[in-house]
């Protein structure tokens, strides 16, 4: 009889397998390497574009703004704000994806797929239409509100069926709610051509063409969301053992869930308000991070954030290079890159194995 507990199949044991990096030392080292990679990507993002600028000139333009010339203007006025925005959005989306996947135990967790960005989209189009707001700095608050309502609605719908919030039911609820919301968006933009004109440039998801002060505006929300995410990490590890076990270990479930939801809303809302809906970063990045760090959220969350920055900025640079002299918005690049990844996940045998 005693054998019975010993013969549990290994994949049931939670938290499951380790990542590539074991031990705190190598993980800290990995984190520093990742920070270096982020700095490198930022430099790349500032240097590469329709007009490539040497790194020396970039450095000069950054340090000494008084040097006259087009390069200085491009670097300071266009490339730096754009890179900053990518930095904030990448952090936000990577981390909120990790939180969503952790809280819902759903490998398909992504703000775009779970209806959060759809909620933000509707709020934005409403604010453009009803209040005549034409710029991201104007509709940032509405995007927050919409993101919050969207995430709550998807979670409620997805968990209200029999069997609770399963990966499949959440993905379906997200998709169904998105259908409904985009139908409403459609109804508005069909009648209001002016709203369509603003909305269509927001909805693709891009780092370019946003106001330069947007990054500054959303930064506080990203910082608060980041702190909350890190605070939430130990609780998330306990929740991974199952709600009953977590409760038995003295975890206040509702508090952990509320902190997680607040953090996801702040991060996704900030990123979506600033850049428009960018799908698939939140989906792909945590999976990559998890293979490096394993399932411990205290490591997973910072790794996801930094990897999100690298992923988003590289996609943005790629979009600038591939379609010269024009450019492909980062949301499009990510959708095309992220879809094969999503399909590979879906085709995996065990959907629920997080």
């Amino acid at each position: 009889m005693a054998q019975r507990t010993a013969t549990r199949p290994p994949e049931e044991a939670a938290p499951s397998r380790d990542g590539l990096l074991r031990g705190a030392g190598s993980r800290v080292l990995g984190l520093w390497l990742l920070v270096a990679l982020v700095v490198l990507t930022c430099a790349l993002s500032i240097a590469v574009g329709t007009r490539s600028i040497g790194l020396g000139t970039v450095w000069q333009a950054l340090v000494d703004g008084s040097t006259p010339g087009d390069e200085t203007v491009i670097v300071r006025e266009l490339r730096v704000p754009r890179t900053l925005l990518g930095l904030l959005a990448g952090l936000s989306l990577g981390i909120s994806g990790a939180l969503m996947q952790g809280h819902t135990r759903n490998p398909l967790g992504d703000p775009g797929l779970l209806g959060v960005t759809a909620g933000a989209s509707l709020a934005v189009v409403l604010s453009i239409w009803l209040l005549g707001l034409g710029s991201p700095s104007g509709y940032v608050w509405f995007a927050f509100l919409g993101a919050f309502l969207g995430s709550v609605a998807v979670y409620l719908i997805g968990s209200s069926g029999r069997g609770g919030a399963t990966p499949v039911s959440l993905a379906l609820a997200g998709s169904a709610l998105s259908y409904l919301i985009y139908a409403l968006v459609q109804a508005i933009t069909i009648r209001e051509t002016e709203a369509l004109d603003s909305f269509r440039f927001w909805v693709v998801g891009a780092l370019a063409g946003r106001d330069s002060d947007v990054a500054v505006q959303v930064a506080p929300f990203v910082v608060v969301g980041l702190v909350l995410a890190l605070v939430n990490a130990p609780a998330l590890n306990l929740l991974g053992l199952g709600e009953d076990v977590a409760r038995g270990l003295g975890q206040r479930i509702w508090l952990a869930r509320a902190v997680g939801l607040l953090s996801v809303t702040l991060l996704t809302g900030a990123a979506t308000a600033a850049c428009g809906p960018i799908a698939f970063v939140g989906l792909v990045v945590p999976h990559v991070a998890r293979t490096i760090t394993g399932p411990d959220h205290r490591w997973l969350i910072p790794y996801s954030g930094l990897l999100g920055v690298v992923f988003l900025l590289l996609a943005d640079v790629f979009g600038r290079v591939v379609a010269r002299p024009g450019e492909l918005q980062v949301g499009i690049v990510l959708a095309v890159v992220g879809t094969p990844f999503f399909i590979a996940l879906v085709r995996r045998r065990k959907l629920v194995s997080l």
Binding site: Q186, T189, R347
Partner: protein
């Protein structure tokens, strides 16, 4: 003394009909419901034919349809208004039958041509033509190229979804999830194309991707009618095979059905139906999703009945177009109405969540 027993409650007995060597069984409800739906459909169509700048009563419309009444009324009804209603009816039939086939096949009430990627692919094709070819700019490309591009896009995307979801057979949920993923990508591509166009083209494309019957006529009705002549008999033949597939792949194989072939042919027919419908009127949303489920509740049976689904689809599209034209402000296309009806239903389906895995 033996107690008198009430007859055990169970399914109504099936009736048998024989024509020569052919015989089939049916339940009365499965015949009565389509007939009733057909009557309502005719009335709705007559109402729709009568509404417009020159209102004509239902009775006069019916008289005009059979060649009676005065010339003016006949002209208005037959020449001006009938083409649009004909497109609505044909699109509704195609979407309803397509939805019924796909839901039966995937054993999942959430499956629909939209989820299989037909909508996304067709939208890419059509919007590309509008934006890059310029429906307003070059008339030839706009008039000839758009339906063809939508058809090709829808078929290709559905092929892609089906191919990627195939893994030694088809699992309903995998199919739906792969479809969701590729639809997200298609939406991104459409959004991108919209940013590349000038605002007039973007507005036109925006109306198209909602699904609209504005300006549709015999040019759209005829290809669709030809497609239905080929595809509907194929659907009926397939529905018998699908009936066997309901019992699971193993049983079907035991009964001599070549399961992969049957599945592939079903998907091809269902997708082709939807793609032709979409190329005629744009992706009128939720019809293919909602109609089979209403049909199965009305007509009974273990799976969506094709006849009732087709007729109900036609009724939904004709009725929604009537509402769009008469109740709503003039700029709303029919797709807005079907979305308003269909989307809450989809959510309700999820909230209720019970009959998700089986039909």
């Amino acid at each position: 003394m033996a107690p008198t027993r009430a007859p055990a409650p169970g399914p109504r007995p099936r009736r048998t009909v024989r024509i020569g060597g052919l015989s089939t069984t049916y339940r009365r409800r499965q015949l009565v419901v389509p007939v009733l739906v057909l009557v309502v459909l005719v009335l709705a169509a007559a109402l729709s034919l009568g509404r417009g700048d020159y209102p004509i009563g239902v009775v006069d419309v019916l008289r005009a349809l059979v060649g009676l009444g005065d010339d003016t009324q006949r002209f208005i009804v037959l020449e001006l208004r009938a083409p649009r209603v004909a497109v609505a009816v044909l699109v509704g039939i195609a979407l309803g039958v397509s939805g019924a086939l796909i839901q039966t096949f995937a054993r999942n009430p959430l499956a629909s041509p939209d989820v299989l990627g037909v909508t996304g692919g067709a939208s890419i094709g059509a919007v590309a033509v509008i934006v890059l070819g310029g429906a307003s700019a070059t008339g030839v490309l706009g008039g000839l190229g758009l339906p063809a591009a939508a058809l090709a896009g829808g078929l290709l995307m559905a092929l892609l979804v089906f191919g990627l979801a195939w893994n030694k057979g088809i699992d309903g949920y995998r199919l739906v999830l792969v479809g969701i993923g590729l639809s997200a990508m298609a939406q991104a591509v459409v959004s991108y194309l919209l940013t590349r166009s000038d605002i007039q083209d973007a507005a036109a494309a925006n109306v198209w991707i909602t699904g609209s019957l504005n300006g549709r006529g015999w040019d759209q009705a005829l290809p669709l009618a030809v497609a239905l002549v080929v595809l509907l008999p194929a659907s009926v033949a397939l529905s018998r095979v699908l009936g066997v597939l309901q019992f699971g792949d193993e049983t079907a194989r035991g009964l001599g059905v070549r399961v992969p072939l049957a599945q592939a042919v079903t998907v091809v027919v269902a997708v082709a139906l939807a793609a032709f419908a979409v190329s005629a009127a744009g992706p009128i949303q939720f019809v293919a999703l909602v109609v089979p489920q209403i049909a199965v509740r009305l007509a009974g049976g273990s799976r969506p009945p094709l006849l009732a689904s087709g007729l109900l689809g036609a009724l939904l599209v004709v009725g929604s177009d009537l509402v769009a034209r008469t109740v709503l402000p003039a700029t709303f296309p029919v797709g807005v109405v079907t979305a308003v009806i269909g989307a809450p239903y989809l959510l309700w389906l999820l909230v209720r969540g019970r009959r998700l895995t089986t039909l």
